[in-house]
């Protein structure tokens, strides 16, 4: 489904690959980096003995011990606050927040400290730390387990925001994130943690942060998305192909820093854009994207940039999730609307 075009492996030689889910790819990235670099530690609620509620840290404690795979008390602010202290003094913490719906208590440490330390100290203190968190809907859980809060981290500079949509990118981007000298918020699309497998190189490699991927080329309209929505966009593209509409599917992969160049080039080519995300529509990151496109390509646009997003409501409980989440048909309808503008 994805081209390897934008993916850069460490080694020049073709590496052996294996078929992995996103959850396994995430785990392997951590395992490989812990192997390479003794300063990498993993911490969070239930990441140790339990192996993580989504098994994304499965087996790590057996392999690296409880000093490097640290089960923490139930305290999100401490998970990030301790990581700040550790990252500032020579370690590379990979912290897990169990669900993005529980990141709120950690916001003060994330946006008050993690994102500011380099700037505050004029580069004296840097914080190489990763904050992993599953996000998004589609698994029918109780409230607070389906949220997509990326927008709140994108008006607050100093923290990179990365979102893979497939196993290859998950491993490569997480590896890049762990090696990054700055804090990286790493959002994992929990709905597709185990939905499918794809070929992933067995050794370490990186996918560069800050580069979008043109997953599927097309001429008539650009679909811009990230995370679990990318697959839904592919479904929509397929559907539209049957109507002879050629859809370009763009997987942003990194939301900050945004790969404007790739995005604007695509929309300049197609003249139409639809942004798809799970977060509520108003002031979601889709607004920023539409604003940028409008600013740079006003005269090239054949139709308004449309947004297919969550509604401006609290993420509904399981029974009404389907009403909320963007789906193939909503995306297709938006595409048709831009075509008939």
């Amino acid at each position: 489904m994805s081209t390897a075009r934008n993916r850069v492996a460490d080694a020049d030689d073709p590496q052996p690959t294996e078929k992995l889910t996103i959850a396994q790819a995430v785990r392997d990235a951590m395992a490989d980096e812990m192997d390479r670099d003794p300063s990498v530690v993993v911490l969070g609620e239930d990441v140790g003995v339990d192996g993580g509620v989504f098994r994304a840290t499965d087996g790590l404690i057996e392999r690296f011990g409880s000093e490097r795979v640290i089960d923490t008390p139930l305290a999100e602010s401490a998970i990030i606050g301790m990581s700040v202290g550790m990252a500032a003094t020579g370690m590379r913490p990979v912290a897990e927040i169990q669900f993005m719906g529980f990141v709120y208590p950690a916001v003060n440490q994330l946006l008050g400290h993690a994102s500011r330390m380099r700037n505050r100290t004029r580069g004296r203190m840097t914080l190489p730390m990763v904050i992993r968190m599953p996000f998004g809907g589609g698994i029918h859980p109780p409230e607070h387990h389906s949220e997509s809060y990326e927008s709140m981290f994108l008006n607050s500079p100093g923290i990179k925001v990365v979102v893979p949509s497939n196993p290859y990118d998950a491993k490569g981007l997480l590896t890049a994130a762990i090696r990054d000298e700055d804090p990286v918020l790493f959002m994992e699309p929990k709905r597709i943690y185990r939905a499918f497998r794809a070929e992933v190189p067995t050794g370490p490699y990186t996918v560069p942060i800050g580069k979008a991927s043109v997953d599927h080329e097309g001429d008539d309209v650009t679909l811009i998305s990230w995370g679990a929505m990318v697959r839904v966009c592919h479904d929509a593209a397929e559907l539209m192909a049957r109507e002879d509409v050629s859809v370009e599917v763009l997987d942003l992969r990194t939301l900050n820093p945004l790969d404007r160049e790739t995005m604007l080039a695509s929309v300049e080519k197609t003249g139409r854009a639809v942004v798809v995300h799970e977060a509520p529509r108003s002031n979601g990151f889709g607004g920023e994207i539409a604003a940028l496109i409008g600013e740079h390509l006003l005269l090239q646009l054949e139709a308004p940039v449309l947004r297919v997003a969550g509604f401006d409501v609290i993420f509904p409980a399981a029974k009404n999730e389907h009403l909320y989440l963007p789906n193939r048909d909503r995306i297709a309808a938006a595409i048709r609307k831009t075509l008939n503008f």
Binding site: V49, D50, V53, A75, H144
Partner: protein
């Protein structure tokens, strides 16, 4: 001028009913046979509700369910100590006490089946909705307690939460503010020894959770949480104090989570069966039954009847759950604000156009 002692921190524990069903008569609270039988049947009903939910979940008729098995004595004891005007603020593993405080069983089921109407309790039921973000409800309990105090209501806010939740900053702020404002609050920790896979000793280095009260200048006490009489007694005492302007209390009720964390969890990954079996021997329901039997207040026949009644009640709740009319799609919009703002009206129209109303 050597080191002087400036504070002496003592924390006590209360037990009344032992696992064999024998009580310390001197400490027995003033509850007559009928009342105790009533408490027992409440506990049996809780267990039946819980077991049915697990079954429903396996059948795909229920969402994620956090079982309360083993924690019935706390929930019954606290509920029975409370009075009419008192508020209950649950965490998420409080189905039993919510029930006793007036939340209809089928609504509890509805909530965990993924239907927000489950938190739409009947008028007059003084119960907060389930609080999923762990630890945050402690703050509301302080706020409600303060509200009751300021408004001169002789009522108390009773907040429950787990051992894990005591590690969150919100727990601390809530206890500290309750101490400062001497709010009408009682805080009950259901210490079931586990927070998903994290055992208590990885949650805190404190020997007990009750001693955390020393940090806030409020009374703290530990109680055997599988001992219905002890739970009732300490809660009653704390409620009386709060009701009469004496300020808040922190109660640690020590129990055990006999089941998995939720139906999405597999506790065998992280804890020994042996530990579970040991605690099964301290089952709070069995313990009360032994007491009742020893007093001649209960026999096998009554037990059969009670079990059947509980089953019948549970079946009614399931029937009521499944008879709930489907939600209107517009429902996801209509409770956001007192009035529907234009942008939501527009979005609501989109959905209705898509799925019908």
């Amino acid at each position: 001028m050597p080191r002087t002692q400036i504070y002496n921190a003592v924390t006590e524990r209360l037990e009344i009913l032992d696992p064999a069903g024998i009580v310390d008569e001197e400490l027995m609270p003033d509850l007559d046979g009928d009342r105790i039988r009533g408490i027992y049947s409440d506990m049996v009903r809780m267990r039946a509700m819980d077991e049915k939910a697990l079954k429903l979940q396996r059948q795909g008729r229920m969402g994620t369910w956090p079982p309360i098995k083993g924690q019935e004595a706390i929930q019954a004891g606290v509920a029975h100590a409370m009075e009419d005007g008192d508020w209950l603020l649950p965490a998420f593993r409080e189905h039993g006490i919510m029930l006793l405080r007036g939340v209809p069983g089928h609504l509890i089921y509805a909530y965990w089946a993924g239907d927000e109407r489950g938190s739409s309790f009947p008028e007059g039921v003084r119960v907060f909705p389930v609080a999923v973000p762990v630890g945050s409800q402690w703050q509301h309990g302080t706020g409600v307690g303060l509200s009751l105090k300021l408004r001169g209501e002789k009522a108390v806010a009773v907040t429950l939460g787990g051992d894990g939740s005591t590690s969150e900053g919100d727990f601390h702020e809530a206890m500290n503010c309750a101490g400062v404002f001497q709010s009408n609050s009682v805080f009950v920790i259901q210490n079931n020894q586990w927070a998903i896979s994290i055992p208590l000793h990885q949650q805190t280095a404190a020997k007990t959770l009750a001693q955390k009260a020393h940090a806030y200048g409020i009374p703290g006490i530990q109680v055997d949480g599988n001992d219905i009489f002890a739970v009732y007694s300490v809660t009653r005492e704390a409620l009386d104090r709060a009701r009469n302007g004496g300020g808040p209390t922190l109660i640690e009720a020590v129990t055990y989570r006999l089941g998995d964390h939720t139906t999405a969890d597999d506790a065998s990954r992280y804890r020994e069966d042996k530990e579970v079996t040991e605690w099964e021997g301290r089952d709070p329901i069995l313990r009360l039954r032994r007491f009742l039997e020893a007093r001649g207040l209960w026999d096998e026949e009554q037990e059969q009847e009670q079990q059947a009644a509980a089953q019948a009640w549970v079946d009614e709740q399931v029937a009521a759950l499944e008879a709930m009319p489907p939600q209107d799609p517009s429902d996801i919009f209509s409770h956001m604000y007192a009035d529907l703002p234009p942008h939501l009206a527009e979005q609501m129209a989109e959905v209705i156009e898509e799925v019908g109303s």
